[in-house]
């Protein structure tokens, strides 16, 4: 077990002292964290190195890797970081209402790129960083699903 490292948001996390985890309902992934008098129900979903732990209603993605997996992953991350253009993707499914930019436009970080209507709400999609628009992959009136590439920034 000491071989395994947990990471949240890329940061290594030291497991809490004094607590232990008990499996309750393996069919549904429910367990309980116990520390003497106190206890807390928790849901654990996932497999291999990718887990999502729900504590007090919050889904916390946790990467659990052995040293060997960490070395392999480190190499991969380095490659990704060097990659050039950034794709802005839909984070929720919905209808494209307006598109505010065209290929070639320079945009500032936080500028509105387009608007998606989902679940009765209009949501602005903003530029994650400053740069030039290389490509706009959607148009107003189009329906998109989660993960659909919307705009590519240089």
């Amino acid at each position: 077990m000491s071989d395994l490292e947990a990471r949240i948001d890329g940061e290594s996390v030291t497991p809490a002292k004094g607590w232990r985890f008990e499996i309750i309902d393996p069919a549904r992934g429910i367990g309980r964290l116990i520390n003497g008098a106190a206890s807390m129900p928790v849901l654990v979903e996932g497999k291999a190195s990718d887990w999502v732990v729900t504590i007090r209603g919050r889904r916390i993605p946790v990467t659990v890797r052995s040293w060997r997996e960490q070395v392999l992953a480190g190499a991969e991350t380095a490659t990704t970081a060097r990659a050039g253009p950034a794709a802005v993707r839909a984070t929720l499914p919905g209808l494209i209402l307006t598109v505010a930019v065209s290929a070639g436009d320079p945009v500032d970080e936080g500028a509105t790129l387009l608007t998606i209507e989902a679940m009765k709400m209009q949501n602005d999609v903003r530029a994650p960083r400053s740069g030039r628009v290389i490509e706009v992959s959607v148009q107003a009136g189009e329906t998109v699903t989660t993960g659909t590439p919307l705009v590519r920034l240089e």
């Binding site: 077990m1 395994l4 947990a6 949240i8 948001d9 996390v13 030291t14 497991p15 809490a16 607590w19 232990r20 985890f21 499996i23 393996p26 069919a27 549904r28 992934g29 429910i30 367990g31 964290l33 807390m40 129900p41 928790v42 849901l43 654990v44 979903e45 996932g46 497999k47 291999a48 190195s49 887990w51 732990v53 729900t54 504590i55 007090r56 209603g57 919050r58 889904r59 916390i60 946790v62 659990v64 984070t91 929720l92 499914p93 919905g94 209402l97 209507e117 989902a118 679940m119 009765k120 709400m121 209009q122 949501n123 989660t146």
Partner: protein
């Protein structure tokens, strides 16, 4: 004798199920409707029959008046319950229902009309001698000079609006032009009507509403108030009754104003008059919703009155009995709405499939849910999953019960607002009842940071489960359960 023999519910999700349950108790055969996205929805399975009314887009199904009425006629329904949202406050729909010879479960079409237009409702309340939120009582021009008189910050609102749509906050004169364009565009797209008006933005303020129930014989019952001050995007997340902010004098003033507004229209069925209450305990009419409210269950818990049953009975002509007219409030009830929304990302809707679903039970807990394990969330519709309600002797016991119930709640697969709600029950302003509508902005924020101790606990759990499932053989990829690596643990335990 049941009030009707067959009733069609022109809605979906938890509210359709709520109405189905009451139909069964009254001996009425419930008929549901569904879009193509809802073929396998829970409300469809719980009805005696369900009629397809169109494709997933609400405009082509749950908002399609002709399709809904045709379904009711085809199935021989005698009445239609519209639930909330969708067609519930649409006078055109109510008229079409009556034109088809069916009973509309709600106030008369003329009343839906006069109160559905928020501007007209403001004028109506003012004429009835009820204070309204300071602002305009006529439509805003494109270059509204009168805004300077109201003062900043102010809110632009859609006259045809509701549910927080077509609303824009304006903090200074130079923001007016852009905000007006945005509000008009959203109002036009959502309601087909770009009329906009302005109200001063009162803050700090509480949102308190009064539940009304009227029969067709002129009797009007005032069934207490609900405090709905915890909101995000001007939509309610938590409601409670009685309000922890008011005393009997203020309560009576609110009831009186509610009666006045209802008194100037032809009213029967259930409706809610919404007010803002400022720190000087002045109240201001906001709007009157001429339908069942999402949070009606809170009133049912404290008064013991089944609002849906009485909506159906008064629609069939039954008078309200004295027991309902004089129903008193007992104990304290709180509702929290479980939404598929990410409170760590500005409460944006989350999409996906519900992998685990375990609701609380036991004393003083009521759950009205619209989903179950293995439900795929439909992005076309409102992300409300369930309403969790608690009832106890007093407010402090109700908060303790709510905390216990939230700790029993397990939802897997999608982030919900349960993370916010669990934080809320330990928040000082909620525990003391002293919060106002600014609670989420002021105390929660947009990206509530992960407490270090929760991260450290999550690490223990993830490492423990990975270790426990390490020796597991690879599972077939078609396994539906998200926690599929757990399957081996389950199998080994079963064999022991």
């Amino acid at each position: 004798m049941p009030p009707f023999s067959r009733l069609l519910i022109a809605n979906r999700g938890e509210i359709a199920i709520r109405v189905i349950r009451t139909c069964r108790e009254l001996g009425i055969s419930p008929i549901s409707v569904h879009s193509d996205a809802d073929v396998d929805a829970l409300h469809v399975h719980m009805a005696d029959a369900s009629e397809r009314i169109g494709p997933p887009a609400p405009r082509e199904s749950y908002l399609a008046i002709d399709a809904v009425i045709a379904a009711a006629v085809r199935r021989g329904a005698e009445a239609i319950h519209p639930g909330y949202g969708f067609l519930s406050e649409n006078p055109e729909f109510a008229r079409a229902v009556e034109a088809a010879g069916l009973v509309f479960i709600g106030p008369p079409p003329t009343t839906l009309e006069s109160l559905g237009n928020k501007l007209a409702a403001r004028r109506l309340a003012q004429a009835a001698g009820v204070p309204i939120v300071p602002g305009t009582t006529v439509a805003l021009a494109d270059d509204p000079r009168e805004l300077a008189v109201i003062g900043f910050p102010l809110m632009l609102k859609a006259s045809a609006g509701g549910g927080g749509r077509g609303m824009r906050r304006v903090d200074s004169p130079d923001e007016v032009a852009d905000a007006l364009v945005a509000a008009r565009r959203e109002a036009l797209s959502a309601f087909g009507d770009g009329t906009v008006y302005a109200e001063r933005l009162l803050a700090p303020v509480r949102h308190i509403e009064v539940q009304l129930l009227g029969d067709r014989h002129g009797r009007l019952a005032v069934l207490g108030e609900r405090d709905c001050s915890i909101q995000r995007r001007h939509q309610k997340l938590v409601e409670e009754s009685p309000s922890p902010a008011i005393d009997p004098g203020i309560r009576e003033a609110l009831f009186d104003s509610a009666r006045r507004v209802a008194g100037v229209v032809d009213f029967h069925s259930a409706a809610t008059v919404e007010f803002l209450l400022d720190t000087a305990n002045n109240h201001y009419f906001l709007e009157m919703n001429t339908r069942l409210q999402v949070e009606h269950g809170v009133t049912e818990l404290v008064t013991g009155v089944d609002l849906v049953a009485w909506q159906i009975r008064v629609a069939a002509g039954q008078p309200l009995p004295d027991a309902v007219m004089h129903a008193s409030s007992r104990g304290h009830a709180i509702e929290v709405r479980l939404y598929a929304e990410d409170p760590y990302n500005d409460f944006r809707p989350s999409a996906g499939r519900i992998t685990a679903w375990q609701m609380p039970a036991g004393p003083g807990v009521r759950v009205d849910a619209g989903v179950a394990a293995d439900t795929d969330l439909q992005p076309e519709y409102d992300p409300l999953l369930a309403k969790l309600m608690v009832h106890a002797d007093d407010r402090s016991a109700a908060v303790d019960r709510l905390r216990r119930a939230l700790d029993e709640t397990v939802i897997g697969g999608v982030q919900t607002d349960a993370g916010f709600l669990r934080w809320l029950v330990d928040d000082a302003s909620f525990m003391t009842g002293s919060y106002d509508t600014g609670l989420i902005d002021d105390r929660w924020g947009i990206d509530h940071p992960l407490p270090d101790e929760h991260g450290a606990l999550a690490a223990i759990a993830a490492i423990a489960v990975r270790t426990a499932t390490e020796s597991s053989p690879i599972r077939p990829p078609d396994s539906k359960r998200a926690g599929s690596a757990w399957a081996e643990v389950a199998r080994r335990r079963a064999l022991r």
